[in-house]
Amino acid sequence: MWSFSKIADFIHEFLGSYLNSTWTMIAEMVIAGVAVIGLFALLGLVLVIMERKVSAWIQIRLGPNRVGPKGMLQSLADTLKLLVKEAMTPGGADKFLFNLAPYIAMIVAMLLMAPIAFAKDFQLWDLNIGVLYITAVSSISVISILMAGWASNNKYSLLGAMRSGAQIVSYELSAGLAILTIIIFTGDLQVSEIIKSQADGWWIFKGHVPAIVAFIIFIIAVTAETNRAPFDLAEAESELTAGFHTEYSGMKFALFFLAEYVNVFIVCAIGATLFLGGWMPLHIGHWTGFNHVMDYIPSSMWFFGKTFFLIFVIMWFRWTFPRLRIDQLLNLEWKYLLPLSMLNILLATAIAILGWHF
């Protein structure tokens, strides 16, 4: 059957027959890098048009409908526009840090791609601390925002950066605790092991109440961590013009924009992996007949289907709820989400020890 892992194996054998092992590895690294960059570009195009269509339909509008069939090439046209625009650096800015910040945002997003399993046996780096690696690396992304806000030498940028710093640092806690709930059930941090543990049902079904509560908390916390509405105080248009990227234009702005969308994809992919079984098809306990039918749908379809469903949920949030004030935002985290997720972890631990989960 056609699958990503077959293609990867074929490329590996093809290169192995022409080159020695070191050069094979280097060539594979280059191919993986190019593939990730290609995926980034594709994700940027797809997610931008998806966001614009979803927002339009939710707000009873038509959305982009002029460029290409049903406006589907609109984001391509936007990309072209951004590519040919002048990339300005303001005179009073700290030029070195100002130009460095978008690349940091991009590099962090690229590093986060490494442990994500896109399909069965198709993963860049299955390291044994998978989920911890993701939480660690994603904590660097706040640096790029702080750097951009400071280096712009603009009070709006600085305010936006500080808000976003406070927000990301505090919501990382409940996102981490929500992830920990699933780690308690699986007893392993490795992404492939987490997916394997869901072969007889996804954790959101197997884990009773704690898994569902953790899932809701996870979705809320990652929406805040990716700086999207209703938690988009960092770039609140009506108050701070555009927050930390007020002074950016052209390709540098596009990199921030792309990094935001790629981050949304990554957190949704992680959510899909932890709670909805990653590439694992919908399996129910011992119904072998049913499980067998589900296996006919390719694993990459399952992964992208679940991920895009979560992305849709996050977009749905964005266009439904009004923006929170900074005090409401911090109240929500420290008075509601954090105590609830701690209680939830206790409950999950009890269930895991007593073996009540399926």
């Binding site: 009073g92 911890l132 660690a136 904590s139 660097i140 706040v142 640096i143 030498n153 600085l158």
Partner: protein, 177 residues
């Protein structure tokens, strides 16, 4: 002839040391914090090079995600963008250089005088499971007691923070707004 592993090590070491030097020589405070960050990432890279993934991840979480962000926040609240620090007096520069050199010499002396012997015990695999069991073990040289002692220290620090931050309402003003 260096192999790939050596090239990686020297690259990471150069990143760590170079950014460390830049962090102390730059006269812009925010840039110093960023260079410190890259230096710490270099250290995390060296842990990763040694295949201690867990330590590398913790290094990034604690130093990059926690301490550097805290430093940057305090810079944000106290300094203005584009401001340069005044150059230090030559006396202080010499004193700082001497202090750094003495520390460096002490460490290098210890390293050269110590003879490294290979341990006969089998190494503990640096997986999260092994580290977790070792950390909370009460037997076999486990670290349960130091772990708990440190957590009491942290608890005390947190209570101290709350006591400092607690809001004292002046007399005559009711608690409700």
């Amino acid at each position: 002839m260096m192999n790939g592993s050596d090239i990686l090590f020297y690259g990471l070491a150069a990143l760590t040391l170079g950014c460390g030097v830049l962090a102390v020589t730059t006269r812009q405070l925010f840039r110093a914090a960023i260079f410190l960050l890259f230096s710490l990432i270099g250290v995390a890279g060296i842990y990763l090079w040694m295949q201690y993934e867990f330590i590398a991840a913790v290094q990034v979480v604690v130093y990059v995600g926690g301490i550097v962000v805290l430093i940057i926040f305090s810079i944000f609240l106290t300094h203005q963008a584009g401001e340069k620090l005044a150059p230090q007096k030559i006396k202080r520069q010499i004193a700082a250089f001497l202090a750094a050199f003495c520390g460096f010499a002490l460490v290098m002396l210890q390293v050269y005088q110590h003879t490294f012997t290979e341990s006969s015990e089998t190494a503990v695999a640096p997986t999260v499971k092994a580290i977790g069991t070792q950390m909370l073990d009460t037997k076999n040289g486990g670290y349960a007691l130091p772990f708990e002692v440190i957590s009491i220290l942290l608890l005390a620090a947190m209570i101290g923070c709350i006591v400092i931050a607690i809001q004292k309402t002046p007399k005559g003003i009711s608690q409700e707004q």
